[in-house]
């Protein structure tokens, strides 16, 4: 028999984090900042400027601590809204999931464990070093995110699904434990990525 909780976490993962989102957004989580929909930029006539504006809006998500904490500049992730170094000191390790003795999954289980404010996801890990965003401007992130060598080997079209559908990315909108969620919703972020890609993926100045 699959224990109830295990079943629950499997369902949560399958349902793109919707269940855990509902759970995690209970008491204590500060409200997410809003994210403007692509349509709200229709006043911008210049197509390049419009595309860049989509990215600038999206960058509110990409530069949120929910994203940069695990896209760190070095090998040690950061934690919390203040983005302080992770305690205990954990490091990337060969597979992005920690060194031998302090693996991510020791604490970060398949779903958030809210009684201890502990975030979780089945694939908890650091973004690869070449995908570091910490301390970068939206423009720098934009240029980086378009390069397959520095975006995990993705085409810009692939980014729509990565940001829009990936459940680990989706955790950023349901972090629990008093953490401020990434701005908007994952669906809103997906719409912005799609609009940016379809408008030529221009980077902001």
């Amino acid at each position: 028999m699959i224990p109830h909780r295990r079943l629950f976490t499997l369902l949560a993962a399958a349902a793109v984090g919707l269940l855990s989102a509902a759970l995690a957004r209970g008491e204590g989580s500060p409200p997410a900042a809003p994210l403007a929909p692509p349509a709200s930029f229709s006043a911008i006539a210049d197509p390049a400027e419009l595309s860049a504006a989509y990215f600038a809006e999206l960058s509110k998500v990409l530069t949120s601590p929910r994203c940069t904490n695990c896209h760190p500049a070095g090998d040690r992730p950061r934690q919390g809204d203040a983005a302080r170094p992770h305690q205990p000191p954990v490091f990337r390790g060969p597979d992005g999931k920690g060194l031998t003795s302090l693996r991510c999954a020791m604490c970060h289980r398949e779903a958030n464990f809210d009684p201890a404010g502990m975030p979780g996801h089945p694939h908890w890990q650091l973004a690869p070093a070449e995908m570091a965003w910490e301390g970068k401007t939206p423009r720098e992130i934009c240029i980086q995110i378009k390069e397959p060598a520095r975006n995990g080997g993705r085409s810009v079209e692939d980014l729509i699904a990565h940001i829009g559908d990936d459940t680990l990315v989706g955790w950023a909108w349901a972090p629990g434990g008093g953490r401020t969620p990434a701005p908007g919703t994952q669906a809103e972020a997906k719409a912005l990525v799609r609009a940016w890609v379809e408008s030529g993926a221009v980077c902001p100045k």
């Binding site: 008491e27 204590g28 305690q87």
Partner: protein
């Protein structure tokens, strides 16, 4: 060996409650006591060396207060209820309500206790903890983290659900903004000393001569007016303050023959961060009208007394007839469990849920929110050096301490900060003011090295800066100013123990790290700056009223059992007392029981007055009662473990040797009455379990013990010792002799008979005037560190270090070295990592944990590059000296001096963060 009578220490608290720790004799020890007895019956002897509590600690035995539930306590009901303390995270608005509607039906407390309930029950805060135990509705909490309500839950699950919910959302509501509640300051004192004109001449003015003085006047807001005012009040203050102002004028005159430094320093509040959060278990048995508790505190006697005060005037249903306290090992203390209010709340929980054992346990958020903190300091220090000689001519300082919400130890910390302000140095003119303020911060109290840690940061960085300004070597400048044996300290008294600072400076100066500092700096790789710094510190041990209770028994097989009142928080007291007793009785104890204030009923001790303020006349009168002592038992704090904590047991063991084992040995050797070798007992010594006296066959320890029992000789002794910067001495009638020793009460047993108290024939308590001494027991430590500063990040890494300390006779070498290593780590944390902001952003908001509060990990420390040297005692019989605090202190200024050497920048506010360094570069 097995006393037939119950041993009960009883004393009567306010309101006539009998405070006692009743226990059965050894053979029938209750479950709890057997868990606290090391190495314990289960462990058949100790395998080789090691701490006496080592096996228990590596096997997960129930040991700490947090390990016990009702089911573990013999004779208690089986199930445990749970209590939750709700604390205020706001101290500037009126508390308007407690809304528990957010708790689900399965998370409701069965009892809610508020300030009103305490009032109705007639419960009151003990004097030391004066203030509202629970903040009344309609008032502004006096401090952040002030308790508001106790929620009592029948089941763990209900409690657990409630604490999860309340961790996210406070049930407290607040109304109008009032600003913080103002309260008077906790202490304001001035310490001034003017030496006589010639070396060796009497002082012109000193606290020892004239008493301690406090200004009589305070400006609005509680700030003391330090200037001498032309008023009739405070005349005593005026005299000292006039001398003090002259010293300040001298410094301000800017004599070209002097180099004057005038600097400000800021040190932060930190948490002791002992790893076991505070917790306790209690059961009020209404049938027996007995309140029983299991606690873990550094001050067991005080805790029991405070519980008596809490409940002594209560209405009948809230007033037990007896309070029985059990004290467990602690998962760290560092001062933070000395005089903690936590046991009061444990007792309240039990009194409001009669008949049910109940547990109150902090989680880490709550421990940050409610536990005792270190005082944050602001200091201004002014020093005038003679340009030609480098000698300090005058020193003035002003200390402002943040005492937080309740008084606790603030007055003592303020005093220690002042009396330690000139550290190890000889300064002819000193004037220090010190004031501890009430603030809305979390209560600050005792923590490792208090007072001295903060002032050493100022003094030892000033010494380095002065050396630079004077063009002198930093070691030479320190050496030129050292207080020598017999010289007078700031309060005007000399230190009465060995003074080893000259040797410590020599060792630092000779060390490779120091001699190679220029080369190391030059060899720094690109992007790194290397710097080396040193500092020395001296720290008082003892408080000026320290007690020790010790009981030693030897059975016919030579097995040794020891009880003492000192507590075990990692300090190794059990091991040290066993080792010290072994020097007399030839065998490391088979059982040691610590934190036992209950095992000394036979002494029948009584006390009166406050040992710190008693007059000489009152002391002389009281001392006529042979059962009277100035104080019965004291906290395990102030580094007194080795010196005081082992004293009574050691003296008891000496009595057992002299009047028990020695006569037995004489009998076994067949030495006759008139043989002069009868008097050579101090020439005899133990080696590998054999008693040896030259020219005679060695005797096995167990044969000697068996003979002592067979002869009806003395086989057990219990003693009380008291120190006020000197031991109380008394003489007791033993075998026709007047046996004089550094103890003031003694009971002995012969064969397997009961303990019988002996009336002292003579007693000399240290004079009451010794209360004017700041310290006379002091030990010293020097630290040398090399840091590597990463110029890009500003990160400071302590790369290598050397600490050299002295502690008289070493009782357990590994414990001493371990304390030095641990003190070093805590020093690194204080210098570079740990910080608690004072108010709303600080720990009182209930959101602090170890992610934000960073304590040193192994990766922050030079664990392979830390060398510790312990100086040998000046003589084999030099008494042990306290050392567990001083080892932390010079680490901090040494790091600051090393950072300066590396970067050319001086930092005067702690901790020094990478951002600070990066900005400065």
């Amino acid at each position: 060996m097995h006393p037939s009578r119950r041993d009960v220490l009883k004393w009567t608290a306010a309101g006539g409650i009998v405070l006692s720790v009743a226990r059965l004799p050894f053979a029938e020890a209750a479950t709890f006591e057997s868990t606290q007895t090391m190495p314990g019956r289960a462990a058949a002897g100790r395998a080789g060396a090691g701490r006496i509590d080592a096996v228990a600690k590596v096997t997960g035995a129930k040991l700490y207060a947090s390990d016990f539930r009702a089911a573990d306590m013999e004779g208690w009901p089986a199930t445990t209820a749970h209590a939750l303390l709700v604390r205020a995270a706001d101290a500037t608005h009126v508390l308007t309500g407690l809304e528990l509607g957010l708790l689900g039906a399965d998370a409701k407390p069965s009892v809610v206790v508020t300030a009103k309930d305490l009032e109705r029950a007639g419960l009151r805060a003990p004097p030391f903890y004066a203030g509202d135990l629970l903040c009344p509705l309609g008032t502004t909490p006096v401090y952040l983290g002030q308790p508001v309500a106790l929620l009592l839950f029948d089941s763990f699950d209900a409690y657990d659900r409630a604490r999860i919910t309340l961790r996210e959302k406070s049930p407290l509501t607040f109304g109008a903004q009032t600003g913080p509640v103002e309260q008077p300051n906790y202490a304001a004192l001035r310490f001034t000393r003017v030496a006589g004109a010639e070396p060796g001449a009497p002082d012109a003015y000193s606290p020892l001569m004239e008493g301690w003085i406090s200004p009589g006047f305070f400006a609005a807001g509680g700030r003391p007016i330090w200037k001498p005012l032309p008023a009739s009040e405070g005349g005593q203050y005026k005299k000292g303050a006039t001398y003090g102002e002259e010293i300040r004028a001298l410094i301000a005159a800017k004599d070209p023959a002097m180099v004057v430094l005038d600097r400000a320093f800021r040190t932060q509040s930190v948490d002791p961060m002992f790893l076991e959060p505070e917790c306790g278990l209690a059961w009020y048995d209404p049938k027996a009208r007995a309140l029983r508790l299991a606690l873990g505190v550094q001050s067991p006697f005080e805790a029991a007394d405070a519980l008596g005060d809490l409940l002594g005037k209560a209405k009948a249903e809230f007033k037990p007839e007896r309070i029985e306290t059990h004290f467990a090992h602690m998962g760290g203390g560092f001062g933070g469990r000395d005089h903690t209010p936590f046991p009061l709340y444990v007792a309240l929980a039990a009194m409001f849920l009669p008949g049910r054992p109940i547990r109150l346990a902090h989680d880490r958020f709550q421990q940050f929110q409610g536990g005792i903190k270190r005082h944050a300091f602001e200091m201004r220090s002014q020093v005038a050096f003679d340009r030609a000689s480098g000698r300090i001519r005058a020193f003035a300082a002003d200390h402002v301490l943040d005492g937080g919400g309740l008084a606790n130890y603030s007055a003592s910390v303020a005093v220690v900060s002042a009396t330690s302000a000139i550290g190890s140095y000889d300064v002819p003119k000193v004037d220090v003011t010190t004031v501890a303020h009430h603030t809305r911060g979390v209560t600050a109290g005792s923590m490792r090295g208090y007072g001295v840690l903060q002032t050493s940061v100022a003094l030892e960085t000033l010494m380095d800066e002065a050396a630079e300004a004077l063009g002198m070597d930093p070691v030479a400048l320190r050496r030129a100013n050292l207080l020598k044996a017999g010289g007078r300290s700031l309060t005007g008294n000399p230190w009465t123990v060995s003074v080893r600072t000259p040797e410590i400076l020599d060792r630092l100066e000779r060390h490779d790290l120091w001699r190679g500092r220029a080369a190391a700096k030059a060899a720094a790789p690109a992007g790194t700056r290397i710097g080396t710094g040193l500092a020395i510190s001296t720290k008082d041990y003892g408080t000026g009223a320290d007690c020790s209770l010790g009981r030693v028994e030897v059975d016919p097989d030579g097995r040794i059992r020891i009880c003492c009142d000192a507590t075990e928080m990692g300090n190794g007291i059990g091991t040290s007392v066993a080792n010290r007793v072994a020097q007399y009785l030839g065998r490391v104890a088979d059982e040691v029981s610590v934190a036992r204030i209950d095992a000394f009923g036979a002494l029948g001790l009584v006390t009166s007055d406050d040992p710190y303020t008693i007059t000489q006349a009152a002391q002389d009168k009281a001392a006529r009662n042979p059962r009277w002592v100035p104080a019965i038992s004291s906290a395990t704090s102030a580094s007194i473990g080795a010196h005081v904590g082992t004293q009574a047991a050691a003296q008891a063991a000496r009595v057992v040797l002299r009047f028990g084992l020695w006569p037995a040995a004489l009998a076994l050797w067949g030495i006759a009455q008139k043989d002069p070798r009868r008097f050579l007992w101090e020439e005899a010594y133990w080696q590998d379990g054999m008693l040896i006296l030259s020219g005679l066959p060695p005797l096995a320890q167990k044969d000697v013990a068996a003979k002592a029992h067979a002869m009806g000789a003395l086989t057990g002794a219990m003693a009380h010792a008291f120190s006020r910067w000197a031991w109380a001495q008394a003489a007791f009638p033993l075998d026709g002799l007047d046996w004089a020793a550094d103890i003031d009460a003694l009971a002995v047993r012969r064969g397997s008979g009961p303990f019988k108290v002996l009336d002292r024939g003579f007693v000399a308590f240290p004079p009451a005037s010794y209360n004017r001494i700041g310290t006379s027991f002091t030990s010293s430590c020097g630290t040398l560190v090399q840091v590597a500063v990463d110029t890009a990040s500003g990160a400071v890494r302590v790369a290598r270090a050397y600490s050299v300390l002295e502690c008289g006779q070493t009782l357990t070498r590994e414990v001493v070295v371990g304390q030095a290593q641990g003190g070093f780590a805590m020093g690194v944390g204080y210098a570079l990592l740990e910080k608690l902001p004072p108010f709303e952003d600080g720990p009182g908001n209930g959101r602090w944990n170890l992610g934000d509060y960073v304590v040193a990990r192994a990766s922050d420390l030079p664990i392979h590059g830390l060398e510790v040297e312990v100086l040998p005692p000046i003589a084999p019989n030099e008494p042990p000296k306290g050392m567990a605090e001083v080892v932390m202190i010079p680490v901090v200024p040494a790091i600051l001096n090393a950072i300066h050497d590396a970067t050319g920048r001086r930092f005067s506010a702690l901790p020094v963060t990478p951002d600070d360094v990066r900005r400065a570069l």
